[in-house]
């Protein structure tokens, strides 16, 4: 049971971070379907930092540096979307999809190049970071507390405050609802949209890092992040683009994802004799069902996905 809670919380942390990233981007008016790719490169940035940090580094320093690396890499990568969508009016779905393909491909090429350089026979796309990863975990009794759980919670609170209580957040939302109106009162729509996309890059990158450090101590980058970026988008829609609802939605989805890791620990579930594949499918099936119920009365930002053109009325 403790294990279930632990996994639920860590997967929910991933989903919360990434979904909030998507939330910021969409509130600014840019659909970020490339979160999956951003997660992968963010994870890569973090994993490589963990790999190359000297063994004796202090735990706090490891945490800070690794997080910084993921966030920065995620932000730089998200600029690819930002520039294309904001400056060049590119189709956001198309560019987002390109990021999703670009992220894993770049990660595999890079990791393999590194591995092959280390030893010619090593053609795997795996990065091992067993030692450094321990810095993130704190054992409280039998419960493995992960600092990311706290970070995710703090980001959630901060997002709520930023979006609803600060000038920046309200302006950001204005750009996603009615950019022309926002512009007419002197808000720089382009800047705001860049801000939204960059925040989504930072949170997406961080989410990727959390995902690959949840439970395992090495990551095979050929696998990407198994559709988690899209699950996060489903969480965002289920949460109706509101931070608090997103937090609750993430817990629900995290629970179903965690079940596939730990269902063998529950006699009742084992007795059902379902193949493990069913549990693997569960989060995706649940999200489809959930989307059916919540998409009808969607509260998506009105101007999302539409490139802003100053000259248009």
């Amino acid at each position: 049971m403790l294990l279930l809670i632990q996994y639920t919380l860590i997967f929910a942390s991933v989903l919360v971070l990434v979904a909030l990233g998507g939330c910021f981007s969409e509130h600014s008016g840019v659909i970020n379907i490339g979160l999956e790719g951003i997660m992968v490169v963010g994870a890569l940035g973090g994993a490589l930092t963990m790999k190359y940090l000297p063994a004796g580094t202090a735990a706090v320093l490891i945490i800070v540096l690794v997080i910084l690396a993921s966030v920065l890499v995620g932000m730089i990568f998200s600029l690819l979307l930002g520039v294309a969508a904001i400056k060049f009016n590119a189709d956001q779905t198309l560019v987002g999809t390109a990021l999703n393909l670009l992220g894993p491909a770049a990660a595999v090429v890079l990791v393999r190049a590194i591995n092959t350089a280390e030893s010619v026979d090593n053609v795997s796309s795996t990065v091992a970071y067993g030692q450094a990863k321990k810095a993130f975990v704190l054992n409280i009794g039998r419960f493995e507390f992960n600092w990311f759980m706290l970070i995710a919670f703090l980001v959630l609170v901060a997002s709520y405050v930023i979006l609803y209580k600060t000038r920046f957040g309200l302006r950001l939302c204005a750009c996603g609802e009615h950019p022309q109106a926002a512009d007419s009162v002197g808000i720089n729509v382009y800047k705001m949209r860049y801000a939204g996309v960059l925040i989504s890059g930072a949170l997406g990158g961080l989410g990727g890092l959390v995902y690959i450090t949840a439970g395992v101590s090495e990551w095979k980058f050929e696998n990407g992040v198994a559709g988690f970026g899209f699950l996060a988008l489903a969480v965002m829609i289920f949460g109706q683009w509101r931070p608090v609802n997103i937090g609750l939605a993430a817990l629900l989805f995290g629970l179903f994802r965690a079940l596939s890791n730990v269902y063998t620990g529950f006699d009742a579930l084992v007795a059902l004799k379902l193949p493990s594949t069913v549990y693997n499918m569960l989060p995706y099936i649940i999200s489809l069902i959930v989307l059916v119920f919540v998409s009808g009365k969607s509260r998506a930002p009105k101007a999302e996905g539409i490139p802003y053109d100053k000259g248009q009325r």
């Binding site: 379907i33 690819l80 294309a84 060049f88 009016n89 590119a90 189709d91 779905t93 198309l94 560019v95 999809t97 390109a98 990021l99 393909l101 670009l102 491909a105 770049a106 595999v108 090429v109 393999r112 190049a113 092959t116 010619v120 053609v123 796309s125 050929e222 696998n223 990407g224 198994a226 559709g227 899209f230 988008l233 489903a234 829609i237 193949p275 594949t277 693997n280 499918m281 995706y284 099936i285 999200s287 489809l288 989307l291 059916v292 119920f293 998409s295 009808g296 969607s298």
Partner: protein
């Protein structure tokens, strides 16, 4: 005023939208390859030139003409499946839907045709029909969710990709070999499920995998073009894509059109699965943890081809050419995924084609003004 006749003719060619699309696609390819080359240089400057040449040469890597023809055949077979996936993507795109689920529809198509072939011992046309119908059904789910519940088709497609992958792994585990995670080879279990060669294998130095699938894929591309451009049905679908409400106002059944589009898109992807796996060229690995790249490369091919079915024939071949070419790079330095990286860059660059066109037209306007 003093413009010579020839330069005016050149001008009008540059103004031509189709020509601009081709120009844009070529630019995407060139820049994509350049970026790929730079990446190779960064990884290992020593072999970068050789590697990019290997990617571009693909089957020409073999010195003997017979071997090269044979591997040209293999590339073409893969390209034909890719063409179907890209048709699936572009058909939906013309109707304003982004079918990122082509990958998943392709996967269920694989599951259906292999199960019918190996498990039930059906002949090839039944297997093919099963693949098309199952994939069409999965596409239809996304369409129905979009039409009736306003579920974003991109997200529902992704979810269905994963659900499809797991289901197919489960289904095909029933017909896998005892000692390996691969499905039983069609050739030894049920020869009647293999597509007929109609002599095409002889053309490609006895490449048994070249079948009627190849011409069928090209025919499909032409049919899709005709349906989209020359029929009332295609016009209605495109009108629905442009403005759902206007289409409804004009008496079109917009919900039906959306569902039908996704059904057709799914069917096309399923057809691609059938013409690939029913040649016996590959066995399915039932422990696969990611959806095959075919569907995603289909997106690249669709946009690189200027979302035109006939352009897709060329672009699918090109994407497959460099993907296959990636397997010939020097593996002590680079990995085969470098091709995936290049095609991903090409898709990214395709996002700029529209801007490129606007910029080009503005540039031409300015020049005209100056000349006058």
């Amino acid at each position: 005023m003093q413009m010579s006749k020839e330069s005016r003719k050149k001008e009008s060619l540059l103004r031509n939208s189709g020509f601009q699309t081709i120009l844009g696609s070529l630019l995407c390819i060139i820049i994509g390859l350049l970026i790929g080359y730079v990446v190779l240089l960064i990884i290992n400057p020593g072999g970068a030139g050789k590697a990019i040449v290997a990617i571009l040469k693909n089957f020409l890597y073999y010195p003997s003409a017979a071997a090269a023809t044979k591997y040209l055949g293999t590339t073409l077979v893969k390209a034909s499946a890719l063409l179907m996936c890209s048709l699936s993507v572009l058909f939906a795109w013309k109707v304003g839907l982004f079918n990122i689920g082509a990958a998943g529809q392709y996967v269920v198509g694989v599951g259906a045709c292999l199960y019918f072939g190996i498990g039930l011992g059906m002949p090839w046309y039944v297997c093919m029909l099963a693949a098309v119908l199952t994939a069409a059904f999965v596409g239809g789910i996304s369409g129905a969710l979009k039409a009736y519940f306003n579920v974003n088709e991109v997200i529902s497609c992704i979810m269905l990709n994963w659900i499809g992958l797991y289901l197919v792994n489960m289904l095909l585990s029933l017909v896998k070999e005892q000692s390996t995670p691969y499905t039983k080879p069609l050739k030894s279990v049920n020869k009647s499920a293999l597509l007929p060669n109609i002599g095409l294998d002889q053309v490609f130095s006895k490449n048994e995998f070249v079948t009627i699938g190849l011409p069928l894929a090209v025919v499909m591309a032409v049919i899709v073009w005709v349906v989209l451009e020359k029929t009332k049905f295609g016009f209605e679908l495109k009108a629905t894509g442009m403005n759902k409400n206007a289409a409804k106002y004009c008496g079109m059944r917009e919900k039906r059109n959306i569902i039908l589009t996704m059904v057709i898109a799914g069917g096309l992807a399923g057809f691609g699965a059938a013409i690939f796996y029913l040649t016996g060229i590959e066995q399915w690995m039932v422990q696969q943890t990611s959806v095959p790249a075919m569907g995603f490369n289909g997106i690249a091919a669709a946009f690189l081809g200027g979302s035109n079915p006939l352009g897709a024939i060329l672009s699918s071949y090109f994407i497959q050419h460099i993907t296959s070419g990636g397997t010939y790079v020097d593996k002590t330095m680079y990995c085969t995924q470098i091709s995936d990286l290049i095609s991903a860059f090409i898709i990214y660059l395709c996002g700029f084609v529209l801007f490129f066109k606007v910029w080009l037209n503005r540039f031409l306007d300015k020049r005209e003004e100056k000349n006058n």
